[in-house]
Structures are given as C-alpha cells and as structure tokens.
Symmetry: C2
Subunit: 168 residues, 2 copies
DNA sequence: CCTTACTGCTTCGAATTCGCGGCGCCCGAG
DNA sequence: CTCGGGCGCCGCGAATTCGAAGCAGTAAGG
C-alpha cells in the first residue's frame, strides 16, 4: 500500500477522519435515542443484545467483555446497573466458581424487543439510507477484513484486554 | 434498499456492528498511543489538529465544537486543560465579544508535529494495513456519502449540537 | 496435601464527561 | 436610547470511565 515510513496520503487521511466522525455521530445519535426510548446507554444495549443473541441467554463476563469494547471495571459497573434494574441476573458459573454467568431476564428481553425497532430505524436512517447495495457489500467486506486484522494485531501495550502486569 | 418498516438484514447488522467495533478499537489504540507519546487525549489531539489546519491557526469555540463531536462543556474543559499547558490561547473575538477565539501556540504546533508521525503510523498499521487501494477507494466513497447524509439529516432531538432548549 | 502461578471479577480513587442553569453580549423593535 | 429575545461560553453537580490493587478459585508441580 505504502511504505511503513511514509505518511498517510490525502485519501487515507480523509477516510480515517470520515470513519471517526461517522461512527461518533452514529453512536451519539443512537445513544440518545436509546436513552429516550428505554433509558439505556449504548454499552448497556450492546450487553443486552449480545445476551439475547446468546444460545441460552447467558454469557460469562469475560466473553461479554471480549465482544464489547470496554474495560473490565466498566463492564462490572454497567452489569451492576442492569442487575439493579432487573434486566439481567448474575450467578456463579457451575463449572468455574470464579466466573460469573450473566443471564438476561424476561424484562431484559422485553426491553430489547421494545427499543430494537427504533434503534434499527435510527441506524438505517442515518447509515444505510445513503448507501447502495454495492456500498453495503463493499463496506462489509472492508470492515470484516479490518476487524480481523485488528484482532490479530498484538496488543502493543494495553488493549481493553489489559490488566495483567503485577509484580508480586 | 429495504422498506422503512423492515428490520436490518444480516449484512447490514454485521456492517453496523463491525463499524462500531472497528472505530472503537481504533480510537482506543490511537488514544493510548497519543497518551504515551504526547500526553494528549483523542479530543485534545483533534482540537489541536483542527487548529493547525485552520487558516490562521485560530477558530471560534463553536466552530471547533462543530468539527469535533463533543459537548460544549467538555470542549470548555479540554480547552482549559490545553490552555493551562500552554498549547493554545483563548482570547475574545474582535467581532463578536461573546465568542472566544482559540489559537494554537508554537508549542501546540510543535507537539502536534511531534506526535503526528506515531499517530499516523498507528492508524496505518491498524486500519490501512489490511486494506487494498480498491478497499480504500470504496471506503472513502461510502464514508463521504454517509457523512454528507448525516450532516444533512435534521437533528431529531439533540445532536452534539445540543443545548438550546430553555424555556425562560 | 502444600506451594506457586495464573485467571476472573470486583472495589477503590482519580479523572473525564455531560446536562443544566447563569452571565454577558449582539440584534431588532418601539 | 431602552427593552425584549436569542446566542455563546462557563461553572457546578452528578454520573460514568478507566487503571491499579485486591480477593477468591483453578491448575500444575513436588
């Protein structure tokens, strides 16, 4: 593509900024809608959506954290909030006593089902309205490739996956 | 593409999630690098970069807020931090006495110049390494279209542009 | 069984973020 | 000139975020 020593060309720079701006704008709009519609933050919705999507409606904290780009403590905090609202339940795992299984409650499922249409409409209105099918295909392909590359790239210093550097 | 009443198909959903994950991951990595390299947060870097890019190295707070997806108070806070570090200067506008002109100092320019290479390298390594020229072109085109669409879309309730809803 | 290393999660303190309300300044009407 | 309405920015309090440190459970070695 270009030498590792060279800078980004105009096209790359533009794509980079556009990517960041689009995602920020989208997240902001979606988060606002989510807040108004079901009093959920973006992360909370992601957690619930992931749980609903899971086979048994339950996932370990770690798996949740792997899917959601978030710190462990933040996840604990948000899970506590969701637990307090009765949208999820936390129970020790039968296999690993140190793990915590998070399960969606019926209320959680209902809430997701209630906010999902608006959420989806928001996303389509902002993101997909301006895209053709070809655009979608291209975007999907590129993003899949980039995501795979990012996940394969070694955490230079500390990804969200951080926290393993104790001395004694 | 699809009816306004229908949900997102698998491809759209995947693209949506991939977009959010990629941008989050990228922002996270870049922010970390930026912090280590010049003790700057992502927003601070964006502010400085925008100022350096501006015609006279100066911009009004409002214009800054328009470019950066951020709340007004957050911008004030960050501007205060940058001002305290001597990277920018804030002075009243000659035209509009209520506006505040933000100007980059030489130190600010130097800092941007110093962290820019690493920043760029990080972006290329994570984002563009896995992309062909065709990918880049496609991505750039789609994002430009989407960005234009988003900017044209009426702020349904309150975009970053929020804060104008007082009664008295 | 006991020790050592590692993993999973939570708690803690500090820093950052946002929305709301306040203050001062510009514009138009009388 | 004076008044009323609107805009631009700042200060405050509450909520959220993160990394570091701590606690418990698990696996491996002797």
């Amino acid at each position: 593509m270009s030498d590792p020593t060279a800078g980004l060309n105009t096209e790359q720079l533009g794509a980079y900024f556009a990517l960041m701006e689009v995602s920020s704008l989208l997240q902001y709009a979606v988060e606002e809608h989510l807040r108004a519609d079901g009093d959920l933050s973006w992360v909370q919705f992601q957690i619930l959506a992931r749980l609903v999507d899971a086979p048994e409606g339950r996932l370990r904290m770690t798996d949740l954290a792997d899917g959601v780009v978030y710190s462990r403590s933040g996840l604990t905090y948000q899970a506590g909030l969701l637990d307090k609202r009765g949208l999820i339940t936390r129970s020790p795992s039968p296999d690993d006593e140190r793990s915590v299984m998070v399960t969606v409650t019926d209320a959680g499922r209902e809430l997701v089902a209630r906010v999902l249409p608006g959420h989806v409409a928001q996303v389509r209105g902002l993101l997909f309205e301006a895209m053709s099918d070809e655009d979608l295909a291209a975007l999907g392909g590129v993003l899949a490739r980039v995501r795979a590359h990012m996940r394969a790239t070694p955490p230079r210093s500390a990804k969200p996956r951080a926290g393993r550097n104790r001395a004694g």
